[in-house]
Amino acid sequence: MNAHQTELNFSRRDLLKGGGALIVGFSMAGVPAGGALAARGDTAVAFDMNAIDTWIAIHADNTATVYIGKGEFGQGNTTGLLQIAAEELDLDMSQMRSVQLDTNVVPNQGATTSSSSIERGGPQIRAAAAEARRALLNLASARLRMQIGSLVVNKGIVSIDGHPTQSVSYGALIGDKPFNVKFTGTAPQKSITRYKVVGTSVPRVDIPDKAAGKYIHMQHVRVAGMLHGRVVRPRGQRAYGIGAKPMAIDEASIKDIPARIVRKGDFVGVVAESEWDAIRAARALKVSWQETSALPGNADLFTRMRAAKTNDATIVDWGDADKAFKQAAYVSTATYYCPYQSHAPFGPNCAIGDVSPDRALVICSTQDIYNTRDMLAAVLSMPVDKVRVQYVEGSGTYGRSCYDDAAQAAAVMSQAVGKPVRVQFMRSDEHGWDDYGPAHLADVRAAIDANGKIVAYEYHGWQHGWMINETTHELVLNTPPKERTTGAGSIPVNRMSTGSMYQMADRRVVSHMVPMEGLLKGAPLRSPLDLAFAFASEQSIDELAVAAKLDPLEFRRKNIGDARWLGVLNAAAQAAAWTPKISGSALGSGEVVTGRGIGVGTHHVSYGAAVAEIEVNKRTGVIVAKRLFGALDAGQIVNPAAVEAQIMGQMIQATSRTLKEEVLFDKEGVTSLDWMSYPVLRFAEHPEVTPVVVQRLDEPSSGAGEEVMGATTAAIANAFYDATGVRLRQFPMTPDRVKAALAART
């Protein structure tokens, strides 16, 4: 067995019990341990979060299973969390494994969102591993007749200090038996100075199988007796709240295809034995949808947002910003426009539902198996404890793509036909029915005094909130629109991304929540709206630097006091070999001009800074990002190489979103339905990226998967000004917008 392999805990027994379904194509590597632990997974249980057995099992072969409740999405969090556990347990990484997420198997560590795996999941795993180590030492102490203080552990072998032959392995102490021990709350955690595994670049455990083509993605999973399902909807979502109401379904339109129509409420789908038949039937089925023209279309989006009856909240109100603006030496005032953007996973979401009258098993790629379970219970009208959700990694999701929608669709269709149903969203389903990262409109004012110190800052942002229920849920149950605008997980303007890094006494940030109804569906998209906030905020700051006749790096240094913000700013600048120059002060005269820009940003806690070097073709309007340098301080970085990869991925994706990505829609519905109508950064267009990890082992870990994106967007936008002397205040910075902005200057 490859100890690194994630154990897929679809026990044969469960699936057979559940109606004859059997996963094929899975290696059964990591067969569940025997004894009491073997029962794990059979039923839903309320995990005791303070019991060692909830988190960790030690096997007879002296290996450990960690029941991690955070999903692997390709960001490397499984490796990082196993490193934390290995460190506390004094085990080698080769002795560690995790299990596939499953509501019957792993504790609820909360959603795998907000780059929280290491930040919030890490301390839980660390505490559990320390408690397990303490419990194992108690057992060893009795076995070896020696006090704990005289015991040492190396790779799970406990020995008496100085007497290596007097030893016992963890496996011999407890192998495959439960601890039955509660957390003491006093188990000592390892001192940072003794770390051997945390802080090192352990190779990611998921990569070998991904490169070898042996990795099981959700799209690969098949179960016996399974049918293929497809959702049937208008091509491209309509205004939120209008839904997709089928006025008439022409069943004869698919009479030549061996497929069956599933209708529940306004939900329409098709199922077939053959996948191709399901695809053909979904395409061929004639449905007359209720007509609508309720959307503003891209052209009138921002007018509609500004005119909306908004729910306003003052997020920050320091000092007297109005007075400070009146006394300022220079005030920059500008409005910024930021698009709807799609998660657009490279492989559309896929899910398998296996629903019988008294139970449901749903396999999908959710970021939150427990929330997905609750939502499925509602859609299926089943008690929550009869619903089991298993997670299998799909194609990268970058926030809430259509995974719940696909999971619910699979469950609803399985419930209707009484057989397991695999639903694969088609490209147009995923692109067209995504819960998009919301559009954003910002009015920014920022001011300096005669010494180039920022004295006032004001940010007004307009955006709508996020979906609470999913589309299948709303169609099946005909529930009214429900939007998350306040409370945990909502998205007002982010105070961290709007000037928080600069020292000033007078600052105001106001969030204007626009109702989502009548616009497009929203949900968190990687570093939610931080690209928009940084695009607006950091361009306004950059304008102040020009007004102050200062180099933009120098201006920021002058106005930032926090050592960690300065740390990333300097790290990015150093990597880029930054040389001082006032932005836009040396414009090139040729057709292709170059520029460089700098920016800072974050999501919640961590510190991000970026430098961008770009080329602008003034004739074609094409911007090419040539080189990017990104620095991230996320406190204690458990795996620097994994974080470097995250910085790289963030910067490439941010470049794509800054230069190319925009959901297009007319008054009827969304028209961005594939990679042609929703272009993303292509291979030939990718910049070189230099990631810089600012390691702070003695600081708490914070998020590392999103926090350089805003800085990257800002750096590219500021580089455009440096290259052309023109501010582009709307992204994506497409050739048409570039040409229009350059033409408007003259």
């Binding site: 094929v24 194509g25 999405f73 390709g74 960001q75 490397g76 190779p203 990611r204 998921d206 990569i207 070998p208 991904k210 490169a211 070898a212 083509g213 042996k214 990795y215 099981i216 993605h217 799209q219 690969h220 098949r222 053959s274 996948e275 191709w276 695809i279 657009a344 996973p345 490279f346 492989g347 559309p348 990694e393 799909g394 194609s395 990268g396 970058y398 694969q424 088609m426 490209r427 190489a641 994994a642 990869a645 790289m648 991925g649 963030q650 910067m651 490439i652 994706q653 794509s656 594939d674 990679w675 042609m676 993303v680 950064l681 292509r682 291979f683 030939a684 990718h686 070189e688 990226v689």
Partner: protein, 167 residues
């Protein structure tokens, strides 16, 4: 109806309507894990396979069109490489796959079927590609996680290794 297709050196009988895209036959009848659905529109490269050594998009290629030709999927790439290089035995992985591991390239890994198929196609016909040639050749393959720089690095590493300069 039934079709005889040659996949990774083995003749296989599959049953499908003539218009069925090859992809669905490969994944649902032959249980292959390399080619995978991405767009169904030949826009992304997720479903790529080699047909007589040339990369094609299996999501839009009817199964009827590939009879009498040699199909290679990701699973058959090490053997094809051994054949191309005259090796007695197929390695466990194509050198590009090993390079992907060594540079820790994949994130979600979903696009790596296409990246591997297309990258191996390039290396087979141009063992020492320039950066510009790699960018041009790989441009039809999207990666949403943003791993392009490491795909580039891995192709360059594999190229060097395949030339026998580094072992």
């Amino acid at each position: 109806m039934d079709y005889q297709i040659t996949v990774n050196g083995t003749s296989r009988t599959v049953s499908a309507t003539p218009d069925t895209p090859l992809l669905y036959v490969l994944i649902n009848q032959l249980d292959l894990k390399g080619p995978r659905f991405g767009c169904g529109l030949a826009q992304c490269g997720s479903c790529s396979v080699l047909l007589d050594g040339v990369e094609i998009r299996s999501c839009i290629t009817p199964v009827a069109a590939v009879q009498g030709k040699a199909l290679t999927t990701l699973e058959g790439l090490p053997a094809l490489y051994a054949q191309q290089k005259g090796l007695a035995q197929a390695p466990a992985m194509h050198p590009l796959q090993q390079a992907f591991i060594d540079v820790q390239a994949p994130q979600c890994g979903y696009c790596y079927n296409g990246m591997t198929i297309k990258g191996s196609e390039l290396l087979a016909k141009n063992p020492k590609p320039t950066e510009a040639q790699i960018r041009d050749h790989m441009d039809g393959h999207l990666c949403r996680c943003g791993t392009y720089p490491r795909v580039m690095k891995a192709i360059q590493l594999a190229s060097t290794r395949m030339a026998g300069e580094v072992r």
